[in-house]
């Protein structure tokens, strides 16, 4: 069975857990699943095995903590440690797909906004001057920011697992924190574009060309999908 089917089966079976067990299992699942760079296939196989075991034990009146120990976090770490690494090929493919999706979003955004400004509202120009050096520098910095954000979000979700109900932050605090971070990141993207000094070869492009470029990067990213 492939990872996708295993995830589906896992979601189905989780419904059979009691409320208390469901909460504990969800913590383990989130924590183990978000340990990046591990083989997705192996991760999903072991997650389903743990769930199957928990369900059989539950029938005998045993809880998840009875089966896997009171310290579920360190148990999950033991499991993660033994899951094999994802193949380099898959890791690279996945990173490329992320990059292409990021390129899609930014190209479509700038293509649509700039063209709409010009063709609909009569603002700005039909074409824009770009500098090869600064364009590449902006791209590299923004890509690094994207990977930084992904890393931050994964760690942030992981840190929210294995908390007793009464020690959890209220959800509005979590929302506010995430909102603040996302606002800062968006601001950062624009700052990079705004403050980057122009350097390198100059070239002029019609802004509308970023719409087909965005569609192109999206189509390529589909090819990299498993």
């Amino acid at each position: 069975m492939r990872a996708k089917e295993l995830i589906k089966l896992n979601n189905e079976k989780q419904k059979q857990l009691t409320e208390e067990n469901a909460k504990d299992y969800e913590d383990m699942l989130t924590y183990i699943r978000l340990s990046s760079s591990k083989s997705e296939q192996q991760t999903e196989e072991i997650l389903l095995e743990l769930l199957d075991h928990a369900l059989l034990a539950q029938k005998e009146g045993k809880s998840i903590r009875d089966v896997f120990g009171a310290d579920l976090k360190s148990y999950s770490q033991d499991v993660i440690e033994e899951i094999p690494e994802e193949t380099k090929k898959k890791q690279i493919k996945f990173s490329f797909r992320l990059l292409l999706l990021f390129a899609t979003v930014t190209s479509l955004f700038s293509g649509i906004v700039n063209s709409a400004m010009y063709y609909i509202f009569g603002f700005g120009d039909r074409t824009q001057v770009y500098h090869l050096g600064s364009s590449i520098a902006i791209m590299i910095i923004n890509v690094l920011i994207v990977f930084g954000v992904i890393y931050f979000v994964l760690e942030w979700i992981k840190s929210s697992t294995f908390k007793e109900e009464n020690k959890k932050k209220p959800s509005w605090v979590e929302f506010l924190q995430l909102w603040l971070v996302m606002t800062l990141v968006t601001g950062l993207f624009f700052c990079v574009v705004y403050f980057m000094p122009p350097f390198g070869m100059k070239f002029t492009l019609p802004t509308i060309i970023f719409i087909p470029i965005g569609i192109g990067t999206y189509l390529i990213s589909l090819l990299l999908k498993d």
Partner: protein
């Protein structure tokens, strides 16, 4: 605590290999069998990190198969390397269990 778990891990590896050699088994079944043999002081969950490690070392292989009760489960069976590792473990165990027992009992020959 640490020594205890290290010791237990190595011994458990050998026991798991031995049980799987008799008959391919899935995780829950395996923990029941260990329990039946009297290994009751280990937590059931401790077999999973070991199963992962044995797979990584290619000593066992897991395949999804329908179980007698219906649902598909991941059944583990020994590989050739696994048979070899088990033979090694048994040999080592046999050479140390007598001496260790007698040392713990107070140094007298059995």
């Amino acid at each position: 605590m640490k020594t205890r778990s290290q010791l237990l891990k190595g011994v458990l590896e050998g026991c798991i290999l031995a049980i799987i050699r008799e008959e391919p088994a899935y995780g829950y079944e395996l923990s029941v069998k260990l329990h039946e043999h009297g290994l009751t002081n280990i937590s059931e969950g401790s077999i999973y990190p070991i199963l992962l490690r044995l797979q990584k070392e290619h000593l066992i292989e897991g395949h999804m198969q329908p179980s007698p009760s219906g649902p598909r489960r991941k059944y583990y069976h020994l590989t050739d390397a696994g048979h070899e590792a088990l033979a090694n473990f048994a040999e080592h165990w046999n050479t140390i269990k007598g001496p260790v027992d007698s040392i713990i009992k107070g140094g007298r020959e059995q």
